[in-house]
């Protein structure tokens, strides 16, 4: 089977969609779920799945063992959304595999024995699904997944039972947010049986106007139907509303919007200390300014990438710093450098 990792990305929705992800939950038949498995069973499950994955070199996976790898490495994978916060919590014997191009990752012994995650970028939900499905079908030939006729794939939490699929989109919605439309969005999502949450998943708040949206229903709906529903009925509507909100702000409150964007740029270009949260909020405004054409000369891609590179794990990896204060300095330096800010202060030059 040819895996679609190299497929061309559609970038038509780049102004609103940051990441598309398709996750599949699977468990090994005849084994207890992770929450009940003893250490020996955890190891057997982990090694069985890992050995099947190692037999598939075409997946191009690198490995991450949270018990032996440095913590900073896990933080980077978390910030790239390749693993979940839960995966890094102390618990059972676990293992993650991921592609360097972030198109695929697998988590072994998170809540379920196996979680396969496929990724696409802007509007790449179909690609995300194709990546996850490709990996799942290859594994299906080597592993015996728990399944029954009525309920489909059996998962540790009944909210995933059936297809075990969670399609999610990371959306940048500053326009809807600034015109006060988030409550309405929340209701619309509820009506469509979709879950809306903050940046880092369940229970987290939305930093930098980033929102994660995913399906709730997993039973009785075919994966492809769900995908079409999310793309056609939901995503296209949200993108239209977000663009409309941005246009409305631009035509009726141009000074207000321009002021916010220019202030954000000035802060980012001149700040000497930047916290993670502050940097993300400012970069969100910057990204909005670029998307609506108030700022020229800075590519949208630069703003999107910075929103990841200013995260603490990424900074620790690129600079070696682990403490808060030096990280704030490094973060401000990085942003100034990338956005053409003023030179280093003389004493540091």
């Amino acid at each position: 089977m040819i895996l679609p990792f190299e497929q061309h990305e559609d970038d038509a929705l780049l102004d609103v969609v940051l990441i598309s992800r398709a996750r599949l939950a699977r468990n090994i038949s005849g084994e207890p779920f992770v929450n009940l498995a003893n250490r020996e069973e955890q190891l057997r499950i982990r090694d069985g799945i890992a050995s099947a994955l190692r037999g598939l070199p075409e997946l191009g996976l690198h490995w991450f063992d949270p018990e032996t790898a440095p913590a900073a490495e896990g933080q980077v994978l978390l910030e790239r959304h390749l693993i979940s916060p839960k995966f890094l919590e102390p618990g059972p014997h676990r293992l993650a595999g991921y592609r360097d191009d972030a198109r695929l990752s697998v988590m072994i012994n998170e809540e379920d024995h196996l979680r396969i995650q496929g990724y696409g970028l802007a509007g790449g939900l179909s690609l995300a699904w194709a990546n996850a499905k490709g990996c799942e079908r290859l594994l299906d030939e080597h592993l015996n997944f728990a399944f029954n006729e009525q309920l489909g794939y059996l998962t540790a939490c009944p909210t995933n039972v059936g297809t075990g699929i969670r399609l999610s989109l990371m959306l940048h919605l500053p326009g809807i947010s600034l015109i006060g439309g988030m409550d309405r969005m929340q209701h619309a999502a509820d009506d469509l049986n979709l879950e809306m949450r903050g940046t880092s998943g369940e229970g987290s708040e939305a930093i930098g106007h980033l929102h994660q949206i995913s399906n709730r229903r997993t039973l009785g709906v075919d994966e492809e139907d769900l995908l079409r529903f999310l793309e056609d009925d939901f995503l296209s509507r949200v993108v239209r509303e977000e663009r409309r909100a941005r246009d409305a702000l631009l035509s009726t409150r141009r000074e207000f919007l321009d002021d916010r964007v220019q202030r954000a740029l000035a802060m980012l270009r001149h700040a000497r200390l930047l916290g993670e949260r502050e940097a993300l909020d400012l970069l969100s405004e910057l990204r909005l300014g670029i998307a609506v054409g108030l700022l020229s000369g800075i590519p949208l891609e630069t703003a999107s990438q910075l929103m990841q590179r200013v995260r603490s794990g990424h900074l620790t990896r690129s600079t070696g710093c682990t403490e808060e204060e030096p990280l704030r300095i490094q973060r401000a330096d990085l942003v100034r450098r990338e956005l053409g800010g003023d030179a280093q202060p003389p004493e540091q030059a």
Binding site: N27, S29, G30, E31, P32, F33, N35, L36, E111, K133, E136, R137, D140, E141, N144, F145, A146, F147, N148, E149, Q150, L151, G152, Y153, L154, A156, C157, P158, T159, V161, G162, T163, I165, N193, R216, R217, T218, L219, G220, V221, D222, E223, E224, D225
Partner: protein, 193 residues
């Protein structure tokens, strides 16, 4: 008149029920359904023994084959059997544990705890539907579907359990008749067991 009672092993069932006689934690639960009226008794092991109640079928004998299970329901006669606090025969998980952790213990829990689980799955999946939708989508490539009569029996049995749980006894009686009719028609399948 049929009664059903069942002993809970050890501390796994901790819903806080107390023995009706002595106030100690109750681990034998008897539920009688007669002419649509339900009465319950909750006793500790000692008081249950004094009252002459013992657990009915030991766990190892609990049938896992759906056809056998349905036969057992039918054998229960005109009164409907209600089983309190089921426990997964494979991993020992109870519904009380699930309520605490929001996680099941093993794939077999879906079958063992289906009565209390079903309304929860319904609620989390599709608020407006009355019955669980059937799985659509990918399947394991080596999975073989059960024969059609068995599938229908499994579905009817599940609906029956749901009706009993919701105390809709008229509907339950209808379903039981349907199951009876269908299993008579499916004689070759039964004999094949």
């Amino acid at each position: 008149m049929e009664t059903s009672f069942r002993e809970e092993p050890g501390q796994t069932y901790t819903d806080g029920m107390q023995c009706d006689e002595c106030g100690k934690p109750a681990n034998v639960h008897e539920i009688r359904v007669e002419n649509g009226m339900k009465t319950e008794r909750h006793l500790c092991s000692e008081c249950a023994a004094k009252a002459g109640l013992t657990a009915n079928e030991p766990q190892m004998d609990a049938p896992t084959n759906p056809v056998e299970m349905i036969k057992q329901v039918l054998a229960a006669g005109p009164e409907i059997e209600v089983r309190a606090a089921p426990e997964c025969p494979t991993c020992g998980s109870t519904f009380a544990r699930f309520r605490k952790m929001a996680l099941l213990g093993c794939p077999d829990c879906y079958q063992a705890l289906q009565v209390p689980l079903q309304p929860l799955i319904l609620r989390s999946q599709a608020a407006e539907a009355r019955e669980l939708p059937e799985h659509q989508g990918l399947r394991p490539s080596n999975y073989k579907s059960p024969a059609q009569p068995t599938k229908t029996l499994i579905r009817l049995e599940r609906e029956l359990q749901g009706a009993i749980h919701a105390e809709q006894y008229e509907r339950a009686a209808d379903l039981r008749d349907k199951i009876r009719k269908l299993s008579e028609g499916a004689e070759p399948l039964d004999q094949a067991e």
